[in-house]
C-alpha cells in the first residue's frame, strides 16, 4: 500500500474543548441543548395547480419530516388553495420544514400557527345500531349529528379538535365501529391575526429588508 503522509499522529494532536449536538448546535452548558419534538400546525397558501399536493407531500417523505395530517382545500381566491399540515418535530426540524416549503415555487406563503389557533377536524363514524337510543345519547354528548341510518347502522358526523374526536370514537366503540373516515386537521389563526396570506404587492415593495422572503411569514 502506498500513499501515507507524514505528520503528528491523531493522538498527538491538540483537541478542541467544545462539542455540538447531533442537531449541529454548539453545546453550551448554560443552555438546554437538545430539542424535544413538539406538535404544531403549519398553514400554507399555494397556487391552485396540478402537482402542488404531490410536491408538498413528496417533500415530507423525502426529507423524513414527521407529518401527522395534511388537508387541502380551495380558498376565497380561485387561484389559491390552502394546505394545512400538522407536524411533530424538534424546533430545528420545524424551521427546516417552513424553509423547505417556502422553496417550492408554487408555494405562496407559509406560517406556523400559534398554539391557540382554531383547529378543527371532521369525522364520519359508522357504528352498529342495535341500540339506537344509546347511539343517539352518545352522539348528543359530543354534539354529533346522525347523517345516515339504516336498520343495522348509524353514521354520525363529529366536528372538533382531534382530542374530542378521539374521545368520541372511544365512546362509540362500545357499539362496534364498522368504519371511520377522518379529514385531518384544518386551522385558522384567531382574531385579526392572518393565517398565511398573499403579500399585497404594495406591501412587498415596501419591505426594506425582510430577513424572511415573505413579509407576512413568521
Amino acid at each position: 500500500m502506498t500513499g501515507g503522509l507524514d505528520g503528528p499522529a491523531p493522538e498527538e494532536r491538540p483537541t478542541p474543548a467544545g462539542r455540538r449536538t447531533a442537531q449541529g448546535i454548539r453545546v453550551d452548558p448554560e443552555v438546554e441543548a437538545e430539542h424535544e419534538p413538539r406538535r404544531t400546525v403549519i398553514s400554507t397558501l399555494v397556487e391552485h395547480e396540478p402537482g402542488v399536493l404531490s410536491d408538498v407531500s413528496g417533500l415530507f417523505s423525502r426529507r423524513q419530516f414527521n407529518i401527522e395530517s395534511l388537508t387541502v382545500g380551495p380558498t376565497d381566491d380561485e387561484g389559491r388553495a390552502r394546505i394545512t399540515l400538522v407536524v411533530e418535530e424538534p424546533d430545528p426540524g420545524i424551521e427546516q420544514i417552513k424553509k423547505q416549503l417556502r422553496k417550492l415555487v408554487p408555494v405562496v406563503s407559509v406560517r406556523e400557527l400559534e398554539p391557540d389557533a382554531m383547529r378543527r377536524e371532521l369525522a364520519l363514524v359508522k357504528v352498529n345500531a342495535m341500540r339506537p337510543d344509546q347511539v343517539a345519547a352518545v352522539a348528543e354528548m359530543y354534539g354529533a349529528t346522525t347523517v345516515d341510518a339504516s336498520p343495522e347502522t348509524a353514521t354520525v358526523e363529529i366536528t372538533g379538535s382531534d382530542q374530542k374526536i378521539d374521545a368520541a370514537i372511544e365512546a362509540f366503540s362500545q357499539f362496534g365501529i364498522r368504519e371511520i373516515s377522518r379529514t385531518g386537521t384544518t386551522a385558522l389563526a384567531r382574531g385579526t391575526t392572518d393565517t398565511a396570506r398573499e403579500t399585497p404587492p404594495e406591501e412587498s415593495a415596501q419591505q426594506t429588508n425582510p430577513q424572511q422572503p415573505h413579509a407576512d411569514d413568521d
Partner: protein, 474 residues
C-alpha cells in the same frame, strides 16, 4: 445539490395519450420532482414558449438549479401565433439579496473580536461571482481561508492564507484550522457531511457566521449563530463595510502556518514502485496555464486532482460534488471546452472505472474536433472502493478489481482521437507535452501504482481533527 443552472427539455407522448401507459410514456415531471428546482408539463402550444422562458429564468435566479419542461409531441409540433414572454420568474419566487443589517453588524463585531477566525468558502462563492470580494476580504483582514470541494478556485491556493480544502480528503492543515477556529465564516456552503465529518466534532468551538442565498441551508446541518441570508457578493461587501478593525490573530496565523508544515502534502515516490498518481497530477498542472480547466470522474483520482493541482482561479475546477457521479469527467470536459476561452486548456483527470462509464463521448469530441486532453489515472481498480475495502472490510476486494481494463490509448485511436500510454516516470512530462499540443481530443492512459491510496482521510462521520495520515491510523 451542486446548484448548477440547467434546463432540460424532455419529449413526451402526445397529450391524448398521457396517462394511458402509451409507448415510451414516462411520468417525467413526476419522477423529476425531487431532483429539479421546478418542472412544468407544457400543456398548451400557446403558452409553451413562456414555460420555457420561465424555466430559463428560474434556473438562474437566486440559488441556481435544474429546471425541466416536459414537451408533449403534439405541443412541440403545433403552430402558434403567440410570442413567448420575456424570461421572468413567477411572482411567488422571491430572493433576498441583502442580509439583515443588524445581524451583519453583530457578525462584524464577532469577527473583530475573534482571535482564531477562518473563512470557509463554498461553491456558492463561485456561483455568486463573489470570489474577488472574498479574496479582498480575506487579504484585508488576514483571515486564513479554507474551501469546500465545490469552493476550490474561489481563493488562490498558492496564497499564504490558503489552507486549501477541508473534509474527508482535505488537507491536514485545513482540517486542523476548521477544528480549532473560534469564528467560522461559511459562505455559500451546505455543510455537507463529506466536509463536516461527525457533526458533534465539527468546528466545535466556533461561532458560525453563515452566508447563503438559500434560507433553507441556514442551520440545516450546523446551527448558525449569525444567519446572513443573501447574495454572497452583496453580503461580503456588507460585512467588509461594517468591519472597522481587523481581528488580532497573529498567533493563530502562525499556528496555521505551522500546521501547513506539520501536515505537508509531500508524498513518497519510491523508484521501485510504479508511477505515483500525485506525480502525474503535478506534472499536468506544471504543463498547463493557471486558467486551465480540470474536470474529473469520481474516486481516488478526483481527490488527487483536488489535492495536487494548485487552483488559483474560480471556475477552473469542474467536478460532481453532491452526487459524486462517476462518468462526469468526459461530458463535462466537452461542455467546458465549448464554454471556455480558446487559450484555456481543458484537462479531464479520470479514473479507469469512471472513464468507462461515458467514454463514448469521444465520438462527440472527435466529431466536433474539441481540444481536450483526458488523462486516465489507470490503477485497474475501482480504486476508491478498493481503498475502503482494504481499510474497513479486511481487504475483501468484491467487484473492485478490473484487470481486464481495455487499453484506453488504443480505444482512443479507434474513435479517431489520439492515444498515448505512460508506464514510466521519464515518459510523463514528454507525453503530456505531446498530448496537450495536439489540437483535438487525446487520451493518455497513465498506468499508476495500483496500490496507491488517498490520504489524509477522515472516515465517514469521524472527527476532522483526527484525520488519518495512513491506514493504520483509521
Amino acid at each position: 445539490m451542486d446548484s448548477d443552472p440547467m434546463v432540460a427539455l424532455t419529449g413526451q407522448v402526445a397529450r391524448d395519450f398521457v396517462g394511458n401507459d402509451a409507448f415510451q410514456e414516462t411520468d417525467t415531471t413526476g419522477v423529476t420532482t425531487p431532483v429539479t428546482k421546478d418542472n412544468t408539463f407544457a400543456s398548451d402550444p400557446d403558452t409553451v414558449g413562456s414555460d420555457v422562458s420561465e424555466a430559463f429564468a428560474l434556473a438562474r435566479e437566486g440559488r441556481p438549479g435544474p429546471t425541466l419542461v416536459d414537451l408533449p409531441k403534439d405541443v412541440s409540433n403545433a403552430d402558434t401565433d403567440c410570442e413567448p414572454d420575456e424570461p421572468k420568474v413567477p411572482d411567488t419566487y422571491e430572493v433576498q439579496e441583502r442580509a439583515d443589517p443588524e445581524i451583519v453588524e453583530q457578525a462584524a463585531r464577532r469577527i473583530e473580536n475573534s482571535s482564531k477566525p477562518a473563512l470557509l468558502l463554498g461553491g456558492g462563492v463561485i456561483k455568486g461571482e463573489a470570489s474577488e470580494a472574498c479574496r479582498e476580504f480575506a487579504i484585508e483582514h488576514e483571515i486564513p481561508v479554507i474551501t469546500t470541494m465545490p469552493g476550490i478556485g474561489s481563493f488562490p491556493e498558492d496564497h499564504e492564507l490558503s489552507m486549501e480544502m477541508a473534509g474527508m480528503h482535505g488537507t491536514g492543515y485545513a482540517n486542523m484550522a476548521v477544528t480549532h477556529c473560534d469564528t467560522l465564516i461559511g459562505i455559500g456552503t451546505r455543510f455537507d457531511d463529506r466536509l463536516t465529518g461527525g457533526i458533534e466534532t465539527f468546528a466545535p468551538d466556533a461561532e458560525l457566521i453563515h452566508v447563503d442565498i438559500d434560507p433553507a441551508e441556514i442551520s440545516k446541518n450546523i446551527h448558525a449563530d449569525y444567519p446572513l441570508i443573501g447574495d454572497a457578493e452583496t453580503v461580503v461587501t456588507q460585512l467588509a463595510e461594517e468591519i472597522e478593525t481587523s481581528p488580532q490573530a497573529t498567533k493563530w496565523r502562525a499556528q496555521c502556518q505551522q500546521w501547513k508544515s506539520d501536515y505537508s502534502m509531500a508524498y513518497d515516490a519510491p523508484e521501485d514502485r510504479p508511477i505515483q498518481p500525485e506525480f502525474v497530477v503535478e506534472a499536468l498542472d506544471e504543463a498547463t496555464s493557471d486558467r486551465a480547466i480540470v474536470t474529473t470522474g469520481v474516486g481516488q483520482h478526483q481527490m488527487w486532482a483536488c489535492q495536487y493541482w494548485t487552483y488559483t482561479e474560480p471556475r477552473t475546477w469542474v467536478s460532481s460534488h453532491g452526487l459524486g457521479a462517476m462518468g462526469y469527467g468526459l461530458p463535462s470536459a466537452i461542455g467546458a471546452r465549448i464554454a471556455a476561452d480558446d487559450d484555456q486548456e481543458v484537462v479531464c483527470i479520470d479514473g479507469d472505472g469512471s472513464f468507462l462509464m461515458t467514454l463514448q463521448g469521444l465520438s462527440v469530441a472527435v466529431r466536433e474536433n474539441l481540444d481536450i486532453t483526458v488523462v486516465v489515472l489507470n490503477n485497474e481498480y475501482i480504486g476508491m472502493v478498493r481503498q475502503w475495502q482494504d481499510a474497513f472490510f479486511e481487504g475483501r476486494h468484491s467487484a473492485s478489481e478490473y484487470n481486464w481494463m481495455p487499453e484506453f490509448d488504443k480505444l482512443a485511436e479507434a474513435f479517431g482521437a489520439r492515444g498515448f500510454r505512460i508506464d514510466e516516470y521519464d515518459e510523463v512530462a514528454d507525453t503530456i507535452e505531446e498530448a496537450l499540443s495536439y489540437d483535438g481530443p487525446s487520451v493518455i492512459d497513465a498506468h499508476i501504482d495500483p496500490q496507491a491510496n488517498v490520504y489524509p482521510m477522515v472516515p465517514s462521520g469521524g472527527d476532522n481533527g483526527q484525520f488519518a495520515l495512513a491506514e493504520d491510523q483509521l
